[in-house]
């Protein structure tokens, strides 16, 4: 059974929030005593997904939860926006594909940096990406 030992929410309204978001994720990963490589991976994934929520979703929120399971702890991050949603999820999950000016590595790259990745999107209503990294 998974229990949540702490949680919180941060706004993603501008570029500065991306910086604040990854700094907060770094602190939590440090508190969970993630290895330096694992810290860097979850922070980098957070940066990519926060930027996506801001640029493509028109801003949103980052929710974080510290998870406890028997024998392991983890950090779950949820990026939620009320933007246009993703019409073609399969295409969006292709390396190098972008609807904007980016490199098209945000979603696919972030997925490679975490243990669990969930994408929930509705056209016209928004996108929610949930990622978890376990220690």
């Amino acid at each position: 059974m998974t229990t949540i030992s702490s949680s919180g929410e941060l706004p993603l309204k501008n570029e500065h929030d991306i910086v604040l978001g990854r700094q907060a994720v770094r602190r939590m990963a440090q508190e969970l005593t993630f290895s330096l490589v694992d810290q860097t991976k979850i922070v980098t994934a957070a940066s990519e997904l926060a930027r996506n929520a801001l640029i493509y979703g028109g801003g949103g929120v980052l929710k974080w939860e510290v998870l406890n399971e028997v024998g392991k702890r983890g950090l779950r991050l949820t990026f939620q926006d009320q933007g246009p949603g993703i019409a073609n999820v399969e295409l969006a999950m292709t390396d190098g594909w972008t609807s904007g000016k980016g490199l098209g590595l945000g979603l696919t790259g972030a997925r490679r940096l975490v243990n669990e990745f969930e994408l929930d999107t509705t056209v016209g209503a928004g996108t929610r990406v949930t990622v978890t990294r376990w220690k």
Partner: protein, 128 residues
Amino acid sequence: MERIPILRMGEFLLVTIQVDMHDQLALILQDDLTRAIEKQGAKGVLIDISALTMVDSFIGRMISDISGMARILDAKTVVVGMQPAVAITLVELGLSLTGVATALNVERGMQLLRRALTDSHDDDFIKR
């Protein structure tokens, strides 16, 4: 406005990134650096990222773009000091910074730039 300083060392420019950059700051640096190359006729650019604890696709692309722009302006770019955890993450993310010269530290980066400069002087000499 917040800016990342660009230091001149002879024919080279030295940039040490010591802050967690927001996207706009990265773009300003790109602008400032290309302008400095042109204005000072710099032959090499050394970018020290040893203080960066994270390089995402945006910063990675900025580094790549600076290297490409500098090359067109006849300057060589060397990126030095990337932390191992950052290198591991960057490659897993899908970015391998193809075409960007790298060195382990500032000293080796300077050696690389000096060698590149000597080679290009030799070429000039042969052409004459």
